[in-house]
């Protein structure tokens, strides 16, 4: 049974067992938060604290094991990555509404300064 397919009660497996484990990847939770983290690559030291603490495995990692951005399909906007980040200017929470209104570039500059 795929997420989003609405089963009748007599189509469910006994005990609500799921035969395709790991199907939570189909369940996008990225829309839940009103805030989301933004990442300043230049300030990031790749300590990967954000990756350790993220409860939704929403920190992307490149092939060398370095921070590669945030998976906004699954980030719920809890802000733990920002709280745990040891660099003051590498990660920050911003309002999604602000990004929509002003555009990412403006919000990025307002948050991290510089370019």
């Amino acid at each position: 049974m795929k997420i989003g397919e609405k089963a009748k009660w007599d189509e469910l497996l006994t005990g609500g067992v799921i035969e395709d484990p790991g199907n939570s990847v189909n369940y996008k939770t990225g829309s839940w938060g009103i805030e989301k983290p933004i990442w300043n690559k230049d300030a990031c030291i790749n300590c990967m604290f954000c990756w350790v603490y993220c409860p939704d495995s929403a920190i992307k990692v490149d092939k060398d094991g370095n921070m590669a951005g945030i998976d906004c399909d699954f980030c719920k906007g809890c802000g733990l990555c920002v709280k745990e980040c040891p660099k003051p200017n590498a990660l920050a929470m911003v309002l999604k509404a602000d990004i929509e209104k002003k555009g990412m570039d403006v919000v990025f500059k307002e948050t991290f300064g510089g370019k």
Binding site: A7, G15, I18, E19, P21
Partner: protein, 397 residues
């Protein structure tokens, strides 16, 4: 042929468990059922069983470990009573929702407070709506036989629902009675091998237990669970009949005792049914048309069969060994009276509460109940809908 032995109800249950030899038992001993895990530990130490006995730190953990072991694919049992069952109740709901055929033995006991270690049905009634099958037993023979049957009932592919096998704390658990123990080999043959439907340990077929169900999914899961539970009455009957064929003792969903032509009937569960049946016999000798319905399967409640059994009785007294605080009558009363509402010439039904915290209930008390039923039938005046048996002080509410 089985052999006749004189042993306590707890020991009878322990022998049934020894013969079943489940894969896992996770238990935390509690009065009045402690003898059972103690005996199981001895059987294992003596090499008579190879069950993995998990000695947990609480009943909450006991049922949690049972859920894990059953989901893994094992045949799993536990034993508890009273505060222990109350503490495990969160997981009791999870076991039935996950459709795990865990058989739990309960020596039913009063709940605190005041602290009391003696028999009544407060503990098992607290979890009556948890989605388990509940089988109430009258004596040592029944608890032995029902423990064996419960394995077959719960593991049936269409049922896959956990079972509580219930005896009265002390009245049955600690009474030495003569009962018949069957041969190990024949018990093993009767229950057969267990083939779990979705074992977590089968790595060739990966599955998930206990996933989240949001509002858009939850209702369907609960309906599916209920459907499973409601497949059990036919299995309780079938396994009871098969048991009769194999061992000579037949079981049904209830026992109708001299009920065919009865004008007055008591409905009761557990050990006190034996005393009440003696009273029925004495009344019958004096020409009083007394009868008795001993409920064995309380959950799921067999309403249609109850209508059939009690439909022609004039006055019925339900005897509850629990207070359902603030409810309009106690659990048995509510079920029986509700079932009989559809009967055109429905009997009058009144409720008595007896035996709380091990309070003795004697033949004279049941005799007084039947006398009241006769009086009601004669005068048509009901009086009190609810009364207490053998308490000091008058109940006037």
């Amino acid at each position: 042929m089985g052999k006749k032995v004189a042993l306590m109800g707890n020991t009878a249950t322990a022998h049934a468990i020894r013969q079943i030899n489940p894969d896992v038992i996770a238990a935390y001993p509690i009065t009045p059922s402690s003898d059972i895990p103690m005996a199981v530990a001895s059987f294992i130490a003596d090499g008579l069983m190879d069950t993995e006995l998990v000695t947990v730190e609480s009943e909450h953990s006991a049922m949690s470990a049972c859920v894990g072991a059953s989901a893994a694919g094992g045949r799993v049992m536990t034993i508890t009573a009273a505060q222990g069952l109350a503490l495990m109740s969160e997981i009791v709901y999870i076991a039935s929702s996950l459709r795990l055929p865990i058989v739990t033995i309960i020596a039913a006991r009063a709940l605190s407070s005041p602290l009391n270690i003696h028999g009544d049905h407060s503990d098992v009634m607290e979890v009556r709506d948890a989605g388990w099958i509940q089988l109430f037993c009258e004596d040592s023979q029944e608890i032995y036989d029902s423990t064996i049957q419960a394995i077959k009932i719960s593991e049936n592919k269409n049922v896959l629902t956990p079972v509580m096998v219930i005896m009265d704390g002390f009245n049955t658990s600690h009474s030495v009675e003569i009962w018949e123990m069957e041969e190990d080999k024949r018990v093993k043959e009767f229950i057969g091998e267990y083939t779990p439907k979705y074992p977590l340990l089968d790595v060739s077929r990966k599955i998930t237990y206990g996933a989240w169900a949001p509002p858009a999914e939850y209702s369907e899961h609960k309906v599916s669970q209920l459907h499973g539970l409601l497949q059990s009455p036919s299995m309780v009957k079938k396994v009871g009949e098969d048991f009769g064929k194999a061992f000579g003792r037949n079981y049904g969903i209830f026992e109708a005792y001299k009920l065919d032509d009865a004008d007055y009937a008591i409905v009761i569960m557990g050990s006190a049914a034996g005393t009440a049946k003696d009273v029925v016999d004495a009344l019958r000798e004096n020409g009083v048309k007394a009868g008795l319905l001993k409920m064995r399967m309380f959950r799921p409640f067999p309403a249609d069969e109850v209508k059939e059994a009690l439909g022609n009785v004039k006055v019925v007294a339900t005897l509850d060994r629990v207070i359902s605080a603030g409810a309009y009558g106690s659990p048995l009363f509510n079920e029986i009276r509700s079932a009989l509402y559809d009967v055109p010439q429905r009997p009058i039904v009144i409720d008595y509460i007896y035996g709380l915290g091990g309070r003795d209930t004697q033949p004279k008390h049941f005799k007084a109940v039947y006398e009241n039923l006769k009086k009601i039938a004669k005068t048509g005046k009901v009086g009190k809908i609810l009364d207490f048996i053998n308490i000091r002080g008058k109940w006037e509410e």
